[in-house]
Amino acid sequence: MPQVSIIDDDESLRGALVSLVRSFGYGASGFDSAEQFLAAGGAAGFDCIVTDIHMPGLSGIELKQRLAAAQDTTPVIMITARSEPALRERVRDSGAMCLLTKPFEASELIACIEQALVA
């Protein structure tokens, strides 16, 4: 069963995302910050990472940069409540697979995850 990690500081959204991903038949684990995710072993054991961008501490983009620096190529899907074009560009530059703007449809997220797992 493919494993997906969900990183978001908003407890309710994180819980919803974990539940949603599990309802599609994947395994899912939630983390409230990038630091907690890294401390728990990072990308090892995960097939895909879904992360919020704006969080206290490390941002989603910084997390992706750290993973890239450690030669970790686990696909990363980013979500944000913001919509500035500059942000979109920075996300693309970071090598993230997808960017979803909140609120998004469940089907959009699942499509991104499926795409990530194929890659």
Binding site: G15, A16, S19, R82, F104, A106
Partner: protein
């Protein structure tokens, strides 16, 4: 017309005859200032005959005092056609004359000046009197009004003879001689004779009999006043116009009193060998009597013409009632506090017995009698004022003031400043005077000002909301996104062949919580954007800081600013308007963020501190930005001052007006670490 004397000569024309009948000096001069006509009164006044005057330049004939030579005056007269004023001129015999002059300029058809006619009146004497009056007014203005002076005419001739003998004997320094020989001064006092004395003089020094005062000065002159007599003589010899001092004098009965002593040496008197002495009794006794005589009149005059409404109250009924209660051991203060019927009784016991014009206007009546009787009708709206006023009197205070409302007789309710004084003298007589100042205009102006300030503050809040739009959108989006995702996940679980009810229950619970979260955010924003009258409630400063932080949490995070709260526990509550005080905190924190946005500072941080201050709570907001330029520190709180390129400059001025309204102070400084430091204080609810 009458002034026309075209011949310029001393002819026998009708015009000149007419002019000679006039008591005022009238002369005509041409453009060059040469005298062309000179009437009989001018001859008398200035001492120059018509023949001597005609053809002379007026300023050569009658030199002006140096200080009065003024070309501008002549220019002004020619410009406007007239001039009026005083001139000090020297007459033919060298006397200095003060002339009240009036010039009128005559022109020909082409507008050229033909001549200037001067009408003049000798006011020398009047001026001297005025000056003397002015001098005495300097210290004795009231006394002069209050009492007449005693005047003596003294025959100085015997003293003149004594002095001539003294000089013949080789004495040249009279002052030294007088000082060394008091007996000589006593001898002069014995030599001087009173030849006349006015009615006040008889009343002050005598026993009702004028002839007994017509004698030498010895009985009136105590030894301690010898130097004053000597100085008067020296002043007379020195041709001083007068000599004024304060010295003790004695009545025929032997009473010694403080006198304001004036020796005057008018030329006419000197010629007759007499001098004039004026004496005013300035001892406390006389002054007090005069005061008493005048105080009644003064009181009446003041009472009726003061521009504030005055009511004289007859308190006797009330005082008798209170005395009886106290004699019976009753606690009148407690009765006032607790017994509404007792207050009603008081309002019937105190009666108005005199009112002034302003009171008639304030209470909307036409006749004073309309207001006489119990005070109750005026206090139907706010009887509590009378309760507090009377409690103040029972506590022994000397007066009581408060802003209150009175009911007028024509049905209005007026905001007034009520002021009652309890001076012991009046209170003993059972009289108290109440003043009312109509505050309608002031109250209305304040209300209008408060409305404007509230509007302004709201506009600023909305402007802040505008600046925070992105942050707010993000904040509202968060629970909405969570609701949507929870909902979708729930639907997914429900549509499985075996619905996982426990999973759906959890998702639903989160949705409810998120909906509440969204509603709270909307409520916060609405609180800021909705106009509302300022209210006062008891507030916790730390809660205010936490709420403002919550409001800005997303913005802070988005801008990468760390917020540190350093809040003292157990602070006293403050009294204030929650929305306004949050606005101040949000404004100052947004300001701090904006100040740091332009810097490359690695560590962007805002620290908010709260601590107990002298009589309340102090709040500080410190940032790690560049701080203020020293030249900006003084004007930060001024309206429309801004260092931001697109700022309106109203944020800080509104912060200040809000804090001022709350009775606090706001200040800006540079923090020791270099950033900006705003601080403000709020009074604790318990403090005055």
């Amino acid at each position: 017309m009458a002034a026309r004397d075209d011949s310029g000569r001393a002819g026998a024309g009708d015009a000149r005859d007419l002019l000679d009948l006039v008591h005022d000096s009238i002369f005509v001069r041409d453009r060059a200032g040469c005298i062309r006509s000179w009437n009989a009164a001018s001859e008398t006044l200035y001492g120059w005959t018509r023949e001597q005057a005609i053809g002379r330049r007026v300023n050569d004939l009658l030199p002006l005092r140096r200080a009065e030579r003024d070309a501008a005056r002549d220019a002004q007269a020619i410009e406007t056609g007239r001039w009026e004023g005083r001139l000090v001129r020297t007459a033919a015999d060298g006397r200095t004359l003060t002339i009240e002059a009036r010039w009128s300029v005559r022109r020909d058809a082409a507008g050229e000046v033909i001549e200037i006619i001067e009408t003049g009146r000798d006011v020398t004497e009047r001026r001297e009197i005025e000056e003397a009056l002015h001098r005495s007014e300097y210290r004795y203005r009231n006394l002069f009004q209050a009492m007449a002076a005693a005047f003596w005419e003294i025959d100085f001739a015997p003293i003149g003879s004594m002095l001539r003998e003294l000089r013949a004997s080789g004495v040249t320094d009279f002052a030294a001689h007088f000082a060394a020989h008091p007996d000589y001064v006593r001898a002069m006092i014995r030599a001087a004779r009173v030849i006349d004395v006015n009615e006040q003089g008889v009343a002050l020094f005598g026993r009702g009999d004028k002839p007994e005062l017509l004698r030498d000065l010895a009985p009136f002159w105590p030894d301690e006043s010898l130097p004053v007599f000597a100085a008067s003589v020296l002043a007379a010899i020195g041709r001083k116009p007068n000599y004024v001092t304060e010295t003790p004098l004695r009545t025929l009965d032997g009473r010694i009193f403080d006198a304001l002593f004036t020796a005057a040496f008018p030329p006419e008197s000197i010629a007759k060998g007499t001098l004039l002495i004026g004496v005013i009794d300035v001892s406390d006794r006389t002054a007090a009597e005069a005061d008493l005589r005048h105080s009644e009149t003064r009181y009446r005059t003041l009472f009726h013409h003061m521009p504030v409404a005055l009511l004289q109250l007859d308190m006797r009924g009330l005082f008798v009632r209170i005395a009886a209660l106290q004699a019976a051991g009753a606690d009148v203060a407690a009765m006032l506090e607790g017994d509404a019927a007792f207050l009603d009784e008081i309002l019937q016991l105190v009666a108005v017995d005199e009112v002034n014009q302003a009171a008639l206007k304030l209470f909307g009546v036409t006749a004073p009698a309309d207001l006489y009787g119990p005070i109750a009708p005026a206090w139907q709206v706010r009887p509590d004022t009378i309760r507090r006023s009377l409690l103040a009197r029972l506590r022994g205070e000397i007066g009581y003031v408060e802003e209150t409302k009175i009911a007028t007789r024509d049905g209005r309710v007026v905001d007034v400043l009520y002021n009652i004084a309890f001076p012991p003298l009046l209170t003993d007589l059972g009289i108290n005077v109440v003043t009312f100042m109509d505050l309608t205009d002031r109250v209305e102006a304040q209300a209008a000002l408060q409305r404007v300030q509230a509007d302004f503050a709201r506009a600023a809040r909305i402007a802040t909301l505008g600046e925070l739009t992105a942050s707010i959108a993000h904040e509202v989006n968060q629970p909405l996104a969570a609701i949507a995702t929870n909902g979708e996940a729930g639907l997914r679980w429900l549509s499985r062949p075996e619905p996982d009810i426990e999973e759906v229950r959890q998702l639903n619970a989160r949705m409810v919580a998120d909906a509440r979260r969204a509603a709270d955010i909307i409520k916060r924003i609405r609180g800021i954007a909705t106009p509302s009258a300022p209210t006062r409630a008891e507030l916790s400063v730390n809660a205010l800081v936490e709420e403002a932080s919550l409001f800005l949490a997303h913005e802070l995070q988005a801008q990468g600013v760390a917020l540190r709260l350093d809040l003292a526990p157990a602070l006293p509550p403050v009294r204030g308007d929650r929305t306004q005080l949050q606005q101040v905190l949000v404004n100052l924190m947004v300001n701090a963020m904006q100040a740091m946005a332009g810097t490359r500072s690695a560590r962007r941080a805002i620290t908010v501190r709260s601590r107990a201050a002298d009589d309340g709570v102090a709040i500080e907001i410190e940032d790690s930005g560049p701080g203020f330029a020293p030249e900006h520190l003084g004007s930060l709180f001024a309206s429309f001052f801004t260092t931001k390129p697109d700022g309106m400059g109203i944020g800080l001025s509104i912060c200040r007006s809000i804090i001022d309204d709350h009775g606090g102070r706001i200040a800006a400084a540079n923090a020791p670490g270099g950033g900006a430091l705003f601080s403000f204080t709020l009074s604790a609810t318990g403090s005055p």
